[in-house]
Amino acid sequence: MLFNSFTYLSFILIAIPLFYLFPAKLKNSFLLICSYLFYAYWDWRFCSLLVITTLTVYYCGKFIFESKDPKRKKFFLYVSLVINLGILVLFKYYNFFVDSFNSAFSMFGGNLDWLHLSLILPIGISFYTFQALTYVIDIYRGEAEPTDSIIDVGVFVSFFPQLLMGPIERAKNILPQLKFERNFDVSLFKEGFVLITLGMFKKVIIGDTAGKVVNQIFAEPSYYSSIELIMAIVLFTIQLYADFSGYTNIARGTAKMFGLNIMENFEQPYFSQSMTEFWRRWHISLSTYLKDYLYTPLAITTRSWGLFSVAFSLFVTFVLAGLWHGAGWTFIIFGALHGAALVYEALSRKFRKKLNRKFSPALYNKFCMLLAFVYVMFTFVFFRADTVGDSFFIMGRIFNWHESEFYIRVLLIIAAYVMISFSFDLLEIKYKTHAFLLKFDNAYMLGISFAMWLVVIPYMLQSTPMPFIYFQF
């Protein structure tokens, strides 16, 4: 069920009143049923994966907590990791590794096609697997205690607003909230409405419209001129942000309507002045997850290597982050490019500080912001292109300029998207909240919201809902 569909809007319009009609004890069970219905709408068979994940983390967490023997604790941690990551690897990466191995093997005349499995990638598997594992890892580290209720763990693993694309929550944030009785709260409901409105507008009007152009140009880049390829790259940069932050707004807004708070995932990332800052503001739930559960353990393990430890840990973390996005070389290169930039920034901190002192800080910061934005766009070419070859073709055509008959129109299109996208960010910064409409008078807030829905609904009627980009991950 896509958020940007009438099906989803109808679903929450029915589920929210029912939720508040249920007695406090049954509220979480109701949420669990809703979440499974939501997932089953796509494919009911994969609900079994949610059950397996829930059962393994629930029981492993319990056994880890109850066990006094460190070896036994470790054993149950590994059991949970092997089962959940095993499912993830099987569905998401198995064919990639087999195909890559097969293409290398075929150079020697071998054929391992029979190893290829026709598997459907369960949507959201990377998100809910990572999220579920925080439950056992936090218990193992002694940072959280297990809950007695398997229903609560079930809701934590499968809570529908964030099941498919995050934010990747931590058990210690969600589980305590599930213990409270949640009564209808007008202010939370209002905040939820505003977040859903803004999220739908971002996704449908900014993300999807940009995406239609982007899809066409990236599908057949050879038919387009250099400026049109640049437009596709800028529009994809905006699409990805509008799509994902729009999703997060809808997810957070829906969760608020059910009385739950889930974490922020974006803080105006395109205003970052370095790639390090970018990852502090982009997909925050993933970057903090990687920091907590991958980078830090790696850096601790290799701390005797000195400065090289930081570089190694950063690079490996980001290559794996790239691979997390998708099983393909384009994603590995994307991750490696980000890793390389972060390694450079970590190693050149002193040099950059000196450089900063030589220029006017305002000018220097703006230049750094522009540089970071351009670098992000450059890496997104690999993220979006179908093949590595296509990525290089696009770069090549931009550097080997091809004329267009639509320079002014294309530049205006780019400017329009950049302005509307950045205006959301500027308002978020000014009012220090993603639900910035709440800071306005109620009448103004409703007027703006109505205008947004007035364009969102007809667009949804005339267009097949476009899946969110991160669904595939």
Binding site: Q216, Y417, I420, A443, L446, G447, A451
Partner: protein, 346 residues
């Protein structure tokens, strides 16, 4: 009371200002533009001269309607004597909004033919989406003819013969052996409603609302709510199924006279009208199509042959949709027309 009025005022101001900002965004980004057509009381739906086109359905195309109201570069009505002028007349396949003019077979044919003949060649695109043979005839007779083409390439397929065009426009009746044009559409309730609400189409938001409403009418609320759980597809595609026997006879008579009239223009061995058959046509039209006076270029055969050898001509990778000719399809059409036109004495 004062508070309520003030709130209503604030709401209205915020609402209207937001719509203005959105209108500006839509116009600049071109994602939704005002309608590119207007209702002419004589010729029905026509394109607005100088309108911007930004299409992103199956494919992605940017372009303009030229100052004369057709697609591609604007060649004036008067033709230079040494210029070979070709008019492309047909429905959406000819219109080709799915791609840029530079990739359209119009442009490719113009360049190729110019190189082969050594003459200045002008190819004019009069394609109009959704028209059948009656609309094609109107275009041929009352629009394209004003530009004095040496050759009219008339693209027809199955949909051209079954009377699928239900938009307000001139109709024809057969009286004896000739056609009588009927302008009564201008008195129809549909035309009057369109005229009454034409202001909606003058803005991007209005045009978006109008299109949203049209799509809503095609489905049902339950379809939109249940999505993929509903049995029927959300949007019903335009109907190109066979007409009723009564309509079939009527269209057959009208189409027969239209084809005959087009054939009459090819006199004294000079060919000026050519049928380009894009896909299969109803079998009972065999005797009308295989008419000595009207040459037929069988594009369908060419496409079938190429599709058999694995060429993809009507699939759009970017939207994962099948329908109109894709980039490669246009290259094939241009090459096919060039080969066939070489044999025609201009």
């Amino acid at each position: 009371m004062k508070k309520i009025i003030l709130s209503i005022l604030k709401f209205s101001v915020a609402f209207i200002l937001s719509l203005v900002v959105l209108e500006i965004f839509f116009r600049l980004s071109e994602v939704f533009l005002p309608s590119i057509v207007y209702d002419d009381p004589k010729l029905g739906l026509l394109r607005k001269p100088n309108a911007q086109i930004f299409s992103m359905n199956e494919g992605f195309g940017m372009g303009d309607v030229n100052e004369y109201g057709y697609l591609g570069p604007g060649y004036p009505k008067e033709k230079n004597e040494n210029t070979l002028r070709i008019a492309l007349i047909g429905a959406s396949m000819v219109q080709g909004l799915e791609l840029f003019d530079r990739a359209h077979f119009r442009k490719l044919l113009e360049e190729k033919l110019s190189a082969v003949t050594g003459k200045k060649v002008e190819v004019l695109n009069f394609g109009r989406g959704g028209i059948d043979l009656r609309g094609i005839y109107t275009t041929y007779k009352y629009i394209a003819s004003e530009f004095h083409p040496d050759i009219n390439l008339i693209f027809v397929g199955n949909a051209s013969f079954v009377g699928k065009d239900d938009k307000p426009g001139p109709d024809y009746t057969v009286v004896g052996d000739s056609l009588v044009i009927d302008y009564s559409f201008a008195e129809s309730s549909q035309f009057k409603q369109r005229t009454k609400f034409k202001f909606l189409r003058l803005t991007s938001i209005g045009n978006l609302l109008k299109r949203g409403f049209e799509f809503y009418q095609l489905g049902s609320p339950l379809q939109f709510i249940l999505g993929s759980l509903y049995k029927k597809p959300v949007i019903v595609q335009s109907n190109t199924t066979a007409p009723s026997p009564l309509d079939r006879d009527m269209f057959y008579n009208i189409n027969g006279v239209i084809l005959n009239d087009m054939g009459k223009a090819n006199t004294n061995g000079k060919i000026s009208n050519i049928i380009v058959m894009t896909d299969s046509y109803p079998a009972y039209y065999n005797d009308l199509i295989k008419n000595d006076s009207l040459p037929v270029f069988n594009l369908e055969k060419e496409f079938e042959m190429r599709k058999k050898s694995g060429e993809i001509l009507d699939y759009w990778k970017g939207s994962n949709m099948q329908g109109h000719w894709n980039h490669h399809g246009h290259e094939v059409v241009a090459g096919f027309l060039l080969e066939n036109l070489k044999n025609i004495k201009f």
